[in-house]
């Protein structure tokens, strides 16, 4: 029997170099767990059932993740859990009990060794249930007194319109989160996302939750790899836009295949169905792992200058086209992320005055998610935060896409000062906001009706 190398030397070297030199990694393996069967009228029973179910299902998640990482020689950065929105599971609890549930979730996360647990969430696009109101009221205390909890609130959809009462409320909640954790640069606000069109299978934090249409338990995988794309874009400065798009597609395909491999292998090992790959380009504060750098490599002097939106549109579309071919099931957010504090290139662009909040808003029209990890001046009013949320939600609602707001009021700081969140969350300069009031607008109350494009039946 004759054996030959089944791979070209270049292919093997390319894979190794993508992982070791260009920061290719699996950003997250997230286990979604339904808590619908934990419902109880007794808070003690509910806490215990939630804790037990998470520990039972996710007990092996971290060790299997580490095993997969060693077997294939690719880092898996985060292992995480998402659960059914607690506003639904604990609909009969008051806000004090909601905080107790957050602490039970936190204990379960600590026990299984994951670094975040998402799903302290409510879906209120059309109005509040009693449970939703209790949960939203509990968010600031829950996030400031726990370590691993992430929270999200969906305040609008293309089908339902925007719940402006919820938008108003969330402005206050974001501000309160920052105030309660002012000594840590408002870290609680960095664990809270306000969504329009929230996906139910997103593996990325802080917005991950396990939707009610999801199975009992599922594995979702988020890939990364801005560094790999940045490198290939840099290598071909003469490529025209068609060629550039093809180069990014080919690279996105390879990145996504890594997620597909890990997803299938982890699913088999854990005996849990494989849900989706989220083929997002998720930057980290590490040098060379930046979405802004990709845009600059396309020929922009600094991210944020004229042409940035077009560059991002091309990037986002090419990533989806290449990634969609590589996986059986694509879902979640799937697109380029443009967080500020988590991306060294974005931070630099803000520092030199190239990138403003208004430009970031425009960029969110053509990529996944929205205004993400942005530090605002500490004297920002709750109503201004609400107005920022309303603008993003409007973009999401009209364009039938997910948008989100994760802003962090930097208490006691002003535009140009710096905040540090540490780790993957990074640090960033505080960005300037418009000084003019939106108060009378956001206080009108009621709902912005669903757009005409929602009548698609």
């Amino acid at each position: 029997m004759t054996m030959t190398l089944t791979f070209a030397r270049e292919e093997i070297q390319q894979t190794i170099s993508m992982i070791h030199d260009e920061n290719l990694d699996i950003r997250t393996v997230t286990m979604g767990i339904s808590l619908l069967d934990c419902v109880s009228e007794d808070i003690n029973v509910l806490e215990q059932k939630i804790y037990d179910k998470i520990v039972k299902n996710a007990g092996k998640l971290v060790s299997v993740g580490e095993q997969m990482s060693a077997r294939y020689g690719i880092p898996i950065i985060n292992k995480r859990v998402s659960v059914t929105p607690i506003g639904i599971v604990a609909a009969n609890m008051n806000s004090e009990k909601m905080v107790r549930i957050a602490k039970a979730l936190d204990r379960a996360a600590r026990e299984v060794g994951v670094n975040f647990i998402g799903g302290f969430s409510a879906l209120v696009q059309k109005g509040f249930t009693i449970g939703d109101l209790a949960l939203i009221e509990a968010i600031p205390q829950a996030l400031s007194e726990t370590e691993f909890i992430c929270s999200s609130v969906n305040i609008g959809t293309t089908k339902a319109g925007i719940n402006m009462d919820a938008v108003l409320k969330m402005g206050e909640v974001v501000l309160k989160c920052a105030q309660l954790t002012a000594d840590k640069d408002g870290i609680a606000a960095a664990k809270l996302v306000v969504f329009c069109n929230a996906p139910e299978d997103n593996p990325f934090m802080a917005g991950s939750f396990h939707g009610v249409g999801e199975p009992e338990c599922v594995i979702n995988v988020g890939v990364s790899g801005p560094g790999v794309v940045a490198k290939v874009v840099k290598k071909y400065p003469e490529a025209d836009f068609s060629e550039l798009s093809n180069l990014i597609k080919q690279t996105a395909f390879k990145i996504t295949r890594m997620g597909e491999l890990i997803g299938r292998a982890a699913s088999k090992e854990l005996n849990v169905p494989f849900g989706i790959i989220d083929l997002s380009l998720a930057p980290t504060p590490a040098i060379g792992d930046s979405v802004a750098e990709i845009l600059e490599n396309m020929g922009l002097e600094r991210c944020g200058t004229h042409g940035t939106t077009a560059a991002l549109a091309l990037l986002n579309d090419a990533v989806k086209k290449g990634g969609a071919m590589a996986s059986s099931h694509v879902g979640g957010l799937s697109g380029a992320f443009i967080p500020v504090s988590e991306d060294a290139g974005m931070v630099k662009a803000v520092e030199v005055g190239a990138l403003t909040l208004d430009k970031l808003e425009a960029m969110t029209c053509v990529c996944s998610v929205g205004l993400d990890m942005i530090a605002l001046p500490g004297d920002v009013s709750a109503e201004t935060i609400s107005a920022i949320i309303a603008d993003e939600a409007a973009i999401g609602m009209i364009n039938k896409k997910t948008t989100a707001v994760r802003v962090i009021p930097a208490i006691g700081k002003k535009a140009g000062d710096r905040v540090e969140f540490g780790g993957l969350l990074g640090g960033a300069p505080v960005m300037a906001i418009h000084p003019f009031s939106s108060k009378m607008f956001v206080k009108r109350g009621g709902r912005i009706p669903a757009p005409i494009i929602s009548l698609s039946n």
Binding site: M3, T4, L5, T6, F7, R9, E11, I12, Q13, T15, I16, Q67, A70, R71, Y72, G73, I74, K254, R257, M258, E260, L261, A265, S328
Partner: protein
């Protein structure tokens, strides 16, 4: 979509570093000790820089791939060599449909 064989248990060992006497003897000796069969070796030296790619069958051994990987990586580091042991599926998935 062509899936890799369920039972595929081949690993790719790559060794990179400054050329020195006995690299292949060391790797193949270790593999023999652990009953790992070598299926293919490809080696080049460019400007005294040594690159080896080896395909091995890890079926006959009880040793976990992870443990093998750790041992070779640690011993390689002492010799100034970067050694990687990776299940072949990572290359199959990235480069083959």
């Amino acid at each position: 979509m062509a899936l890799p064989k369920e039972e595929s248990n081949r690993a790719i060992i790559t060794v990179l570093g400054r050329d020195q006497i006995g690299i292949i003897a060391w790797v193949s000796g270790r593999l023999a000790e652990y009953n790992v069969n070598i299926l293919d070796i490809s080696q080049t030296i460019i400007n005294e820089f040594f690159t080896m790619i080896m395909v091995v069958d890890i079926n006959p051994t009880n040793l976990e791939l992870v443990a093998l990987s750790r041992m070779l990586e640690d011993e390689g580091r002492d010799k100034g060599l970067q050694v990687k042991v990776q299940h072949e599926d990572i290359f199959t998935f990235m480069h083959r449909i």
